[in-house]
Symmetry: C2
Subunit: 229 residues, 2 copies
DNA sequence: TGTACATCAGTGAACGCGCGTTCACTGATGTAC
DNA sequence: TGTACATCAGTGAACGCGCGTTCACTGATGTAC
């Protein structure tokens, strides 16, 4: 009994158009500057029409944040999935480079999710799942290594690390990684995004000349540090 | 011929009051939400009165950015200056902890300078100097170590690093640090601010339980990494 | 030291603007019988 | 298959709001002679 349902399709399409337009505007101005009226104007529609699709401005923003996390996550997953599973070095390099490139290509979407929190806005739970996707790609590479080269957990460092980490959460997607390496792994994750933020937000301006080369240098070191190279 | 110049004094005081009020509002809402009218209202003044002190909103923002960099810089300098010069370990720990604590105490000022760039706003040159102060504290600690334990510069790694770093700039305040360690030093700097941003912006929410302990863990590792412990 | 004038801080009204959101409506598209 | 009704997308006017900035002004504070 499935009818063409052109209305449902049209609706979905319209939602996509709105988000795409908003994203385009986002890449010109910033996140806090995004206005429903401008999105509507850009689409040659009345601003009130948008309320058929999003209850208010916050809901649009939430959708954009979700999309940003998912887009970054999917890009990284896809790029990394192409590499042979056993080639951990390449998987790590590809994954981290994809993160950086995505950020450079979508600077305002990156800032939307990794920059200053939007004042007054509080992210709903759904975004947390989406946010985890990129991180999981990196975590899985590390875990795969230790799955193939099992390493005993040192009880004393397990205990020590459990005091400042949410060990159960981390072990949920990195069950084979010893505590010591979890510390380094979270450090590497921080470093990658710290780098990208510093590059994007202009803090490397007087110290780095070739960002691409330096990034490769950094992530290569991180790969060693984390024990997978 | 120096008169009391109460007018000049009053003016200076008024500028400070305006900035303090703006800072207070900043810590409630965010940077982009800051409005001249609200600052004036908060001071029981007309908004037009503020134009005696700042030509426009951007100028107020610039002043706040400058103050933030300088305040963070001065705090770090002061805290670190108390430690015996030869005690590099303690200097490093004190300096990095001061950075984190300052950020926690002034989250919106931190976001103002290390978060997403404000759309449409372009920082004037003066801010660059102010921005360098914190970084220099860290750099000086590393340099002091290598000044006391001189290490020959390996020509091949010098050459390699010069390809992606602005070596001359970095050597200006770290003249004794070999290229290899400059890479690690900039990495450590990135890591410290990456950590603070992740903590403040909520990205560690599901992995870190005790931020203070984990931070100490991280900066201790960085101290070793950078060769000064 | 006293007076005349210049400088400056702050006022209050006004400008034009763009915003988010609501509401009663029109007309097209889908659904049920 | 054809008709009557329900659903939905989009319109256009209107709301109340707070914003940055300008301007002619008043009154107090400083300066020069």
């Amino acid at each position: 009994m499935e009818k063409p349902r052109t209305r449902k399709v049209a609706r979905e399409l319209q939602i996509q158009t709105i988000k795409a337009t908003a994203r385009r505007l986002l890449d010109q101005r910033g996140a806090s500057e995004l206005s429903l009226r401008e999105v509507a104007r850009e689409m040659n529609q009345t601003s009130s029409a948008l309320y058929r699709y999003f209850a208010n401005r916050d809901e649009l923003l939430t959708a954009l944040i979700l999309d940003a996390y998912n887009d970054l996550g999917a890009s990284t997953e896809d790029a990394e999935a192409v590499v042979a599973r056993s080639n951990r070095r390449e998987r790590w390099l590809v994954a981290t480079r994809t993160i950086r490139r995505w950020a450079l290509q979508h600077p305002h979407e990156y800032a939307l999710v990794y920059g200053s929190p939007i004042p007054g806005y509080h992210a709903p739970v759904e975004t947390i799942v989406a946010a985890t996707r990129v991180t999981n790609v990196l975590g899985r590479i590390i875990n795969d290594h230790f799955q193939e080269h099992p390493t005993a957990f040192d009880p004393s460092s397990e205990k020590r690390v459990a005091e400042f980490f949410e060990l159960e959460n981390l072990r949920f997607f990195m069950p084979n990684v010893p505590a010591e390496m979890l510390v380094k792994g979270i450090g590497a994750w921080t470093q990658v995004f710290g780098f990208v933020s510093f590059e994007l937000f202009g803090h490397y301006e007087n110290s780095v000349r070739d960002f691409e080369a330096y990034f490769d240098e950094v992530v290569t070191r991180l790969g060693h540090d984390v024990g997978i190279f």
